[in-house]
Symmetry: C2
Subunit: 246 residues, 2 copies
Amino acid sequence: MQNLRILPAASGLSRALPLREITACDPCAVRSLNLCAAMPDYELARLAAIAVPIEVRAGRTFIFEADPATHFYNVTSGTAKLFKLLSDGRRIITGFAEPGDFLGLAGTQNYGFSAEAMRGMRLCRYSRASLKELLGEFPLLSARLLEIASAELLAAHEQMMLLGRKLARERLASFIISRFALRSRHAEEVRLPMSRRDLADYLGLSIETVCRTVTRLTTDGIIALPSANRIRILDLEALHLAASGQ
Amino acid sequence: MQNLRILPAASGLSRALPLREITACDPCAVRSLNLCAAMPDYELARLAAIAVPIEVRAGRTFIFEADPATHFYNVTSGTAKLFKLLSDGRRIITGFAEPGDFLGLAGTQNYGFSAEAMRGMRLCRYSRASLKELLGEFPLLSARLLEIASAELLAAHEQMMLLGRKLARERLASFIISRFALRSRHAEEVRLPMSRRDLADYLGLSIETVCRTVTRLTTDGIIALPSANRIRILDLEALHLAASGQ
DNA sequence: CGTAACTTTGATCTCGATCAAGGCTTGTGG
DNA sequence: CCACAAGCCTTGATCGAGATCAAAGTTACG
């Protein structure tokens, strides 16, 4: 836990006036899957009051699988990879957490995954205890959390299909399509903020297979690679076909 | 939806006295992962009031992937398999729902999976609308649902590791161990209520590989097969080693 | 500019899929 | 109670997608 650096402003912030705190939450309100989305001002203020903004440097692990689940997080900026390890080092990346995403839902007392910042990150941290307290007070908050958990469950099941039944080419194409769906600007371009190794561990493949499959999609004229981690979609229809194995 | 048969008693039950309804819920209170567990009597009665007991015959599908998510279910007896299909028939079983399990959490407006009864089942059905109403009233209920969703998420992530990174032998051993953990009586025996095909689709393998792997665990003296769907664990330690690939 | 890490490509191997064929169980009707 | 059919389950032979091993090309960065 020494990887975390509490911002100097943290303790002060958590005692500031409600309005001030809502402002502190503003950067969070980026995505629909957000804890704060559709939350009345008063509740949002109470939520902000227990939030501690923290900063994590690139490469640092800030949630450790099997550690006591003491905190929840809301990503403000940067991206984290969430992963599980086997004793021999095999790894599966269960997901990526991006700005607006909520992090740290734990069914048990302990975390079921680790989280590592892929680049410098800012997060809002909530202690499990204080969030639980708010949960009892604000039904909207628990409803929101339930929505988030349900959405994640849906995504997890989709990924189980990908991992258990899809071919490498289908996995890659499915992944590119899902990234395309939540792209920010550039209409036809998908950014991959993760390395080939991360991609491999997310798709249940080896690095080499990821490379080769990307190359094949390129030579097939379905995508183009302006650089290793930018993908330009040349033929979206063909990509959809590739994703479903036809 | 014509697969469902509403029990004759259903409409009557939903208007009976609270105490009567709590009794109707009794068979549900079997497992910790239960919607009704740790629920005060009054809330439980309200929950029971909106529950409609239904019966599904073996082999019938009662939740259809992509259909509007109109209902939630609580399994009273029997087992269901939850699965997703690809257009060409490939299937992944995302889980099995057994007595006490809650069913139908949907992140979106539509179900993300199908559910089929593996044997005759009894379920309590709740309409999405009426349960949502109760959610606002009883914070404990949403807290419970959140717990359930979180636990399922944990299991889904574990399964992602299994599907993405484990060898066939490790998958089988892991599966047997997890079944062993929630076995009912017979100390060293695990029952498999599913066919080899279901097992294959749950573990992301082919039927043949499941068979061969079970056989190999048997010839290795780790398990014994009194019958095709009963597994006697002869060497639990070796099974754990097999599950972690050593 | 040099080095270290990452990506890509090639050669080979292997685990598990697929194809094929028996064996076993279960249920039904004679 | 047996015969038979229809599913299951199991085992064998072969194949192939993707892993692994190996090495070269590229990028990032001090």
